[in-house]
């Protein structure tokens, strides 16, 4: 039987132009890593075809120890308060080898 450890998975869908800012926030909050995907879809900002520079969305996934979550959520809330459109949701996940998620990314 494998030993699984609880962590938080935070998922963000937003415009590609915010990529550098999101990555900087994730690093500053001591995440051990992140995954970025190109995303297409539709929502409050209309269709995002992904065809043009201004028309692409990204999907960001970060797994964090629960105690590091509030700080990152504060940062995302601050972006939303500025008027940026971010879809943010948090899920409970269980991971193998939790030491991997404790080590912050090298700056």
């Amino acid at each position: 039987m494998h030993q699984l450890h609880p962590e938080k998975l935070i998922t963000v869908v937003t415009s590609e132009v915010l990529e550098d800012r999101l990555v900087a926030l994730v690093r500053n909050r001591g995440a051990s890593g992140y995954t970025l995907l190109r995303a297409r879809g539709a929502g409050s900002e209309g269709r995002q075809s992904g065809m043009l520079w201004f028309d692409s969305n990204l999907l960001l996934k970060v797994i964090l120890p629960p105690e590091r979550l509030p700080g990152l959520l504060d940062d995302f809330s601050a972006l939303i308060a500025k008027g940026h459109h971010l879809t943010v949701f948090v899920s409970d996940v269980a991971v193998l080898s939790h030491e991997k998620f404790e080590r912050p990314l090298a700056p």
């Binding site: 590609e16 075809s49 065809m51 008027g83």
Partner: protein
């Protein structure tokens, strides 16, 4: 009739095909990133081609072109902002974001104008190419300053202090001038100017032979994007739609005056400067505005730049600016 036959060039017809494909709900779709690849190609080849010609240019005229390009880039968005505020249809932050698009330039419109002039065998000066590179950025900075000013006014007027991104002014100014398309175009211009004649000739198949075909593909995709934006027209409304037609006419007129009377260009060069004044950006400015003025609604500025002004310029504007340029050159 001659006006219509001037429009019957493949580039413009492919643009129409793109719009038609959207209107009849065709499943025609480019693979992801092809439009980006095409615009990278177009910027590099026009840069190399123009840079080579500019290597033989006069420094004085080149400098004057840069100064006038800066003047247009800073003043046109101010005029657009004033017009938009006068319509009372948008708040100052949306007005700032839209105005920034109209102060910047559309490489797609510029290249269509080159195809149009080439089709009629009209020679043109190469200096407007430097102006194309220079005019990408200043309007972004002006849009940002207008937004900062508007936020400040809203705060002193007793409204809730806006949280908008004023703190990043320096960063955004840097981004405006290091924008990917600006770096590509200026870099390619320099490479074209510095490289030896023989080495540039080796690139001829890349920069010249396939250029018009690539432009056709690019305009096909832009036609589809423009056709898609027609549906958003309802959200923009008639008054803003009218701005999308009036502003290019104003910019085109200013461009003719600058091109011929200030810079002394012939019909071809003056037409190109008019196109620079008339066109609205849809490559460099939208992402910059999305970052810097997140409060503004992207469907306003994208619909106006891509769905109204771009098709207007391609079909009506370019021949019209050509006529104006002819009149100006004829008048002395």
């Amino acid at each position: 009739m001659s006006q219509i036959s001037n429009l019957l060039i493949p580039a413009v017809l492919f643009f129409a095909l793109g719009i038609l494909a959207r209107l009849i709900k065709s499943d025609l779709r480019f693979p992801p990133d092809l439009a980006k690849i095409l615009s990278i190609y177009l910027l590099v080849s026009i840069g190399l081609h123009g840079g080579f010609e500019l290597g033989k240019a006069e420094l004085g005229t080149a400098l004057a072109s840069v100064l006038w390009a800066l003047a247009l880039g800073f003043l046109l968005p101010l005029a657009g902002f004033a017009l938009l505020i006068a319509t009372r249809r948008v708040d100052p932050l949306n007005a700032a974001a839209i105005a920034a698009h109209y102060g910047s330039v559309s490489a797609g419109t510029f290249l269509t104008a080159i195809a149009y002039l080439g089709n009629q065998g009209i020679e043109y000066e190469r200096y407007p190419l430097i102006m194309l590179a220079v005019m990408e950025s200043p309007a972004i900075v002006v849009g940002l300053l207008l937004a900062t000013w508007s936020r400040g006014r809203a705060a002193t007027a007793g409204g809730a202090p806006s949280a908008g991104g004023n703190a990043h002014l320096g960063e955004i100014v840097r981004e405006a001038f290091t924008n990917g398309s600006v770096v590509l175009l200026i870099g390619s211009l320099l490479i074209g100017a510095l490289a030896s004649e023989k080495s540039v000739e080796a690139l001829h198949p890349f920069t010249t032979d396939i250029f018009m075909g690539m432009l056709c593909l690019f305009l096909l995709e832009m036609g589809m994007e423009a056709g898609h934006r027609f549906g958003d027209f309802r959200r923009v409304g008639l008054v803003l739609g009218a701005f999308g037609l009036l502003m290019p006419l104003l910019g085109g007129l200013v461009g003719v005056v600058v091109g011929h009377f200030a810079l002394g260009f012939g019909v071809g060069g003056t037409t190109l400067v008019a196109v620079l004044g008339a066109s609205a950006s849809y490559i460099a400015v939208p992402p910059a505005m999305r970052l810097a003025i997140p409060e503004a609604n992207p469907s306003f500025y994208l619909t106006l730049a891509l769905g109204v002004t771009f098709p207007f310029n391609v079909v009506v504007g370019i021949p019209l600016y050509h006529r104006l340029a002819e009149a100006a050159v004829g008048a002395g």
